[in-house]
């Protein structure tokens, strides 16, 4: 009888011990798993920070290159064109006033100088220190109206807030892409640009062209680029269009 009691006691103690050990093991597993998940989250955060830093470095490199190209255009190409312009003006003054070829060349050169200056200006991201996005869009709208038969109407509602230079650069590039697409593909004769400040800052570019079926062109690289560029600065681009109904792009900060 005594043996049976001893055995029972041993069994009970062993069971209790096993259950306790397993309880500790399970608790340790939970703790270890929690730590592992936290560690993974930290790693993901670090990777995200690294990606952001790389992206920022890339953007800085692009900015630097553009600034250099802009400066080169302004200082070298611009100067050379100015010298050529001076030569032609001198030739016209020295008895060539009636020479229509010379006059046409001078006019073309004047336009060329103006274009190079504008290009140099546009490529320089520092320009956002002196110029607002609304000013840049207005100048671009005027230029498009001048060089094409499309009527461009700019509506500025309220006072647009001052944006970061990076944001302005990207928004302006996106605006240029949308405008170029409208000019090239839509067949529109009117483009409306609206800059609204309330309830939140937004930019809308709408044309009265032939539009397109969004289902057939969703994967188009140009359209994807618009979305990607906007996402880079934390903005969202939305396109409303239908075959024969024009196209309207609405850009605003993402929620």
């Amino acid at each position: 009888m005594m043996d049976a009691e001893r055995i029972s006691l041993t069994v009970a103690a062993s069971t209790l011990l096993i259950v306790l050990i397993l309880g500790v093991v399970v608790a340790l597993l939970i703790m270890n798993n929690t730590r592992l998940i936290r560690h993974r989250a930290e790693l993901a955060e670090l990777k995200q920070q690294h990606d952001r830093a790389v992206m920022e470095a890339e953007r800085e490199a692009v900015r630097h290159t553009l600034r250099e190209i802009g400066r080169e255009l302004h200082d070298n190409a611009g100067q050379l064109l100015a010298v050529a312009q001076l030569g032609i003006n001198t030739a016209i003054g020295d008895g060539g006033a009636g020479n229509t070829t010379l006059t046409a060349a001078r006019d073309a050169l004047e336009e060329g100088v103006e274009e190079v200056r504008r290009l140099g200006h546009d490529l320089n991201t520092d320009m956002w220190q002196q110029r607002s996005l609304a000013d840049a869009i207005s100048a671009e709208a005027e230029r498009v109206e001048r060089v094409s038969r499309v009527r461009v109407h700019l509506h500025v509602v309220g006072t647009p807030p001052a944006l970061e230079p990076d944001t302005s650069t990207v928004l302006f590039r996106v605006f240029q892409v949308i405008l170029a697409n409208a000019l090239k593909h839509s067949g529109a004769d009117r483009i409306d640009i609206t800059l609204e400040s309330e309830p939140r800052f937004s930019l809308t570019i709408a044309d009265n062209g032939r539009g397109f079926d969004p289902a057939t062109v969703t994967a188009h690289a140009g359209l994807l680029n618009i979305h990607k560029r906007c996402a880079l600065i934390g903005w969202a681009a939305h396109c409303s269009t239908a075959q024969g109904n024009g196209c309207a792009w609405h850009l605003q900060p993402a929620d």
Binding site: M1, D3, A4, V11, V19, N33, T34
Partner: protein
């Protein structure tokens, strides 16, 4: 005392069965098999309780049941870790062979203690390793995983019964009363196991309801 034990165990099993049934359909292979396993366990325990009450020997029923249960449990683990198939098949073969050996050794009227003991040890090792692997690979907190609670319950049950099963044969011979008292350990652990199964199924149900559109 035996009636109280049977009622408590059947209550825990019924709770597990209801929870397994309540996992929204389609349940998926894992929870369908778990439902089948719980239903088999419920039927066996009910039959066991009735036969015991009537004084009919039910040893063979439990010997068969442990073999079926072990096979189904290894199948459940295989669903979660298909890469472990070879190891699980080896474990299954060892477990079933020892049950067969135990039955041959003890005859139709005696429990296959050797088999049950081996299965207890094998299940403990497999479930512990599965929990360690879950902790290593899970991307969400372990305590939020329904399968974690299921296998924690199974691990506690199979590890906890090993000392009793190891001594059961001798205890059964020496003192029947003491044996019955000690059998309470198995009942208590089985209740913990089925409550864990119920919790796991309930968590799975909540998860499915949360993620369904």
């Amino acid at each position: 005392m035996r009636t109280t034990e049977a009622v408590l165990l059947l209550s825990a099993l019924t709770l597990a069965l209801i929870c397994a049934w309540c996992v929204p359909r389609p349940r998926g292979a894992f929870y369908t098999r778990l439902l089948a396993l719980t239903a088999v366990e419920w039927a066996v325990e009910l039959t066991g309780a009735v036969t015991a009450h009537l004084g009919v020997r039910n040893v063979l029923l439990y010997d068969l049941y442990i073999a079926v249960e072990f096979t189904m449990l290894m199948g459940l683990v295989r669903l979660l870790r298909p890469g472990w198939t070879v190891v699980l098949r080896i474990a299954l073969a060892i477990g079933l062979l020892t049950v067969a050996y135990g039955t041959w050794q003890n005859g139709w009227s005696g429990f296959a203690w050797e088999g049950i003991f081996t299965i207890g040890v094998l299940c403990s090792a497999v479930f512990l390793w599965l929990l360690v692997d879950l902790a290593r690979t899970s991307t969400e907190p372990l305590w939020r995983l329904p399968v974690f609670w299921l296998f924690t319950g199974l691990l506690l049950y199979f590890s906890g019964i090993v000392p009793f099963i190891g001594a059961a044969k001798i205890l059964h011979t020496l003192d029947r009363q003491q044996y019955r008292t000690m059998h309470l350990i198995v009942t208590a652990l089985a209740m913990v196991r089925f409550v864990c199964t119920a919790l796991s199924c309930h968590m799975e149900r909540q998860r499915v309801l949360r993620t369904s559109p």
